[in-house]
């Protein structure tokens, strides 16, 4: 038996977790007092946060839908968090029940919850794994045997990369996944940015995460996010605010700048 990398980590429910705080923003009840306390603080500073999360959520839904339209039936969702309504497998398998999804998260509670939720779903699996240790993670993905590596895979980095600081070389890590992916595969990214709001606001938000969670945030510019697609061909309309990325009439494109998320999907030639 391999020892899970998080063995020895305390599962400290008195400390907010990014995935449970996110669940709270979305109106879910998969959270504990500490998560709610921090989320309430964040919302008090930035009342738009639940809507921003909704926008991100909506982008993921539209992104998966577009990928299905492009013919992709395999998804590797890294940093999947607490699976709430409208998760990737729900969207994808609603369009094609044969779609295969592998969820990956470092949060043992999120993984355990995903596991119970996915019980009985033969085409969806969950792994405890870390994006910043790609070799180990990909070895476990392959060991799982769910994904067919002769066919395209969409790697979903939804609201994940702003929790990967620069010293860990996010571009290099993405490169590992790109090199591993078969030709014709896709990369989906949504990423928080500081470019649209007053620095005090974004700094306060960053500090909140830095001081309360194990996951400090690094917000990035549109150009930096575009750089993450090295080796990919960006689909139309390139890197855009989430509300402007393939709007389907349910969102608020006219207020797009309230939602500071750069979004994009690229294809590996």
């Amino acid at each position: 038996m391999t020892i899970p990398q998080w063995v020895g980590d305390d599962i400290d429910l008195t400390r907010p977790s990014v995935s449970r705080v996110y669940d709270y923003y979305l109106g879910g009840f998969h959270n504990f007092a500490s998560d709610r306390e921090m989320a309430e603080k964040a919302i008090a500073d930035w009342p738009d946060l639940p809507l921003i999360m909704r926008s991100n959520r909506a982008f993921l839904r539209r992104g998966v839908k577009l990928l299905i339209e492009q013919g992709v039936r395999q998804f590797l969702d890294i940093g999947s968090g607490i699976p709430t309504v409208g998760n990737v497998h729900e969207v994808a398998q609603d369009l094609d029940p044969a779609s295969r999804i592998v969820y990956v998260d470092t949060d043992p509670v999120a993984v355990a919850h995903s596991r119970s939720l996915l019980a009985g779903n033969a085409n969806a699996e969950v792994l405890a794994g870390d994006f910043t240790q790609p070799a180990k993670l990909l070895a476990e993905v392959e060991e799982l045997g769910l994904l067919d590596l002769d066919r395209p895979v969409a790697v979903l980095l939804n609201a994940l990369l702003h929790f990967v600081p620069d010293p860990l070389d996010p571009a290099g890590l993405i490169g590992t996944f790109r090199d591993w992916s078969p030709a014709g595969s896709y990369l989906l990214i949504s990423h928080a940015t500081h470019e649209l709001h007053p620095p005090e606001l974004t700094r306060a938000h960053r500090d909140l995460y830095k001081n309360n969670t194990a996951s400090p945030m690094t917000m990035r510019s549109r150009e930096q996010v575009a750089g993450f697609f090295a080796g990919y061909e960006l689909l139309e309309p390139g890197i855009e605010l989430s509300e402007h990325w393939h709007p389907d009439g349910t969102g608020s494109p006219d207020q797009a700048e309230r939602f500071p998320i750069w979004a994009g999907v690229g294809r590996k030639p």
């Binding site: 009840f29 809507l51 999360m53 959520r57 909506a58 409208g86």
Partner: protein, 711 residues
């Protein structure tokens, strides 16, 4: 109010409910459903409360769970109130509002409880996973630690043993329970060095993270166990020293083996005495770090006649004799505290190094000689008697050099042997300048011939009846570049021990034959060592030398000492001597009467001549005549030799009285200073009768070169 407006109201309410997940749904479609449920609930027979609950449930199913959603929904219904018309329907609307609130609250409550339950179960499952993994991991570690071949113990910072694995329990012979009652500090060994416990104190004080050392422990059964110990400090989360972990490997066997090997490397396996290596180490140490005014002494002990014991009674007895000698020496040296060692063969050595008075070393040496004089008891044998010679060096330790001390002791021993064996001779610094050590000689022997440092001198043998030269004996000299002319005594014995004698012997043969051919001498005597007789080349060497010089073989006289002949048990040398006499060479027994005069030996080989040892004349030096018994024995010996047709030569004749005496007992030929000293050959005139003519021996007519004869 139209249904259309109701639908629009619902749709707006949905949008403004602000519930993030609600955007997943098609609000227009949902608004239509909500609208029709609302209207159906207001028909006269409808259960408005039930319809309200259904509205609440639909909202929650569409993820409109936030408190705001219920507010918005209430507002939609309130705005519809003016359009209701009658009291009954107003009451229905109120009931619907109540139902909506209750239905929404109930649905939210169900969802909340379900999700809270889910997340708690997830966290419990995750914790169980971690706990299981940890316990598996811990179990693995525990097994690993317990089965590890090294001893592992954990102690608290006060030194109380908390845990100890099986290896450690086996190593120490204590059970875990017993170990727990013992503090680390109690596991001492009397020979622990101070720094072990200093390091330990530093570690528990947090000044040192780890230390490694080799340490002895005393097992429960009292045995000593040697360990390779490593102690590591474990700190608590605040960085304070909390535990200590000791890992120790049992290296007892390795240490014992090392000690055994060290003992074997420094001790003589036969006698158990320290060997040369250890002795020189001790001598070096004594010299390197001397106390003030400290004096040291080395006694170099060499057995006399041990070779005879070995040759006559075999090596096994020889070895037992050496063991008995070692024991005797050790006992004899005990009162003085001397270190006795065996250097090689029958060479022993003793080191005296503390509290010496000047007289002590000589006294100890005399004591050792006296101890050796008592016959040795050797298992299964008659008591054996061996004597010894001892060379003594005594000097101030400061400034001394062990190599020079050993050289000096060797010289003193050499002097003791020369002085007649069974003696103690103290090193005389004066003598040293004039002598070479055996070691130096051995080093310089190779290449002696090539370097041209050898020379021959010739001493005539004179016929006593007419004073004519009977032959000349070729005597070897080493013209040493620093020491001058050295006699064979100084180096032939050493040359015989290594193969250096063979090229020297060949050179002597060639030189002597060549000189004889160029002289008017009738014949030449050369001395042949036993080693040459065993050389398969020797007969060819003789033939070649004779041929080169164009000599008749009868002009060559081969001298073999009696002691060598005594030991000729092998057929090869006897065959060699037979071959030589077959060629025509003559055989002379040298030094007859020195050792173990064995008349039977005379029968075994075709001897032509016999030379009485010069020792016989020693007692007559200073003009004293032989006593009648000696004289009678000697004259009988000569008569006996004559009776088997042997010519008898008397050696060492130095005075007119001795000349008279050797004539009186019937000797035929005399040799000694009285007649002539040994001199180098100088070809003054070509003595050869003519080229190509092989000379025939004709002693009667041979001219006599440079004979110093009084007669």
């Amino acid at each position: 109010m139209t249904q259309k407006r109701l639908i629009a109201d619902w749709e707006q309410a949905l949008r403004e409910s602000g519930d993030p997940l609600a955007s997943e749904h098609d609000f227009a479609h949902l608004a239509e459903r909500l609208s029709s449920v609302t209207l159906a609930g207001l028909t006269p027979t409808a259960d408005a409360d039930k319809a309200g609950r259904r509205l609440g449930r639909l909202l929650v199913d569409a993820h409109l769970t936030a408190p705001n959603a219920i507010g918005q929904a209430m507002t939609v219904l309130a705005r519809y109130a003016p359009d209701v018309g009658d009291l009954h329907r107003e009451q229905q609307l109120v009931r619907m509002q109540g139902g909506l609130a209750a239905g929404h609250a109930a649905a939210v409550q169900r969802l909340l409880l379900a999700q809270q339950e889910a997340i708690h179960q997830a966290s419990t499952a995750a914790r169980d996973d971690v706990a299981r993994a940890l316990s598996e991991s811990e179990a693995r570690w525990r097994t690993l630690v317990d089965q590890a071949p090294v001893g592992i113990a954990i102690g608290d910072i006060e030194g109380n043993v908390l845990e100890a694995n099986s290896s450690l329990q086996r190593m120490f012979g204590y059970s875990l329970e017993e170990m727990r009652g013992i503090r680390v500090q109690e596991f001492t060994h009397p020979d622990d060095t101070e720094d072990i416990w200093e390091q330990y104190a530093d570690l528990v004080a947090g000044r040192l993270e780890e230390f490694r050392t080799e340490k002895r422990y005393v097992r429960k059964d009292g045995e000593v166990v040697w360990t390779n110990l490593s102690v590591t400090l474990i700190r608590d989360p605040d960085g304070e020293p909390a535990f200590q972990v000791a890992v120790m490997e049992d290296i007892t066997d390795r240490r014992l083996l090392q000690e055994k090997l060290r003992h074997e490397a420094t001790h003589d396996p036969l006698t158990g005495l320290p060997n040369r290596v250890l002795f020189l180490q001790r001598l070096d140490r004594a010299v390197a770090d001397p106390g003030p005014d400290e004096r040291i002494a080395v006694l170099f002990i060499d057995l006399d006649g041990f070779k005879f014991v070995n040759d006559s009674r075999g090596h096994i007895v020889g070895d037992r004799v050496l063991m008995a000698v070692a024991e005797r020496l050790t006992e004899g040296a005990r009162p003085s505290g001397a270190l006795v060692a065996r250097l090689a063969g029958d060479e022993f050595v003793a080191l005296l190094s503390s509290g010496l008075s000047e007289a002590t070393p000589m006294r100890v040496a005399e004591d050792l000689l006296a101890a050796l004089k008592q016959p040795l008891k050797v298992t299964g044998q008659l008591p054996v008697q061996v004597g010894a010679s001892i060379g003594v060096v005594e000097l101030a330790a400061a400034g001394a050099n062990s190599a020079e001390i050993m050289q000096a002791a060797d010289l003193a021993l050499h002097a003791a042997k020369e002085a007649g064996k069974g003696r103690v001779v103290e090193h005389d610094p004066q003598r040293r300048a004039g002598q070479l050590t055996r070691f130096q000689v051995a080093m310089q022997l190779p290449g002696l011939v090539e370097r041209g440092e050898l020379a021959l001198v010739y001493q005539p043998l004179v016929r006593l009846d007419d004073g004519e030269v009977h032959s000349v004996e070729a005597l070897l000299r080493w013209n040493h570049p620093h020491m001058g002319s050295l006699s064979p005594d100084m180096f032939i014995r050493i040359a015989e021990e290594n193969a250096a004698i063979l090229p020297i012997g060949r050179w002597v043969l060639d030189r002597a034959c060549a000189d004889l051919a160029a002289s008017a001498w009738p014949a030449v005597n050369i001395n042949v060592s036993v080693r040459q007789l065993y050389s398969p080349q020797f007969v060819d060497d003789v033939r070649r030398a004779l041929d080169l010089a164009e000599l008749d073989p009868s002009m060559l006289r081969v001298e073999i000492t009696e002691s060598v002949v005594m030991n000729l048990d092998d057929p090869e040398p006897v065959a060699v001597l037979d071959t030589l006499t077959g060629l025509g060479a003559r055989l002379v027994m040298d030094d007859f009467g020195t050792g173990y005069s064995n008349l039977a030996a005379l029968r075994r080989l075709p001897w032509d001549e016999l030379k009485l040892a010069g020792a016989f004349l020693e007692s007559t030096r200073g003009g004293r005549p032989w006593n009648p018994t000696d004289q009678r024995i000697l004259s009988t010996l000569v008569d006996l030799a004559h009776s088997i047709d042997l010519l008898v030569t008397a050696e060492g004749v130095e005075t007119a009285e001795q000349d008279e005496q050797v004539r009186a007992i019937g000797c035929d030929v005399g040799q000694g200073w009285y007649y002539a000293r040994a001199e180098a050959f100088t070809p003054s005139t070509p003595a050869r009768p003519g080229p190509g003519a092989r000379r025939r021996t004709s002693p009667d007519t041979a001219p006599i070169p440079k004979i110093q004869s009084p007669r």
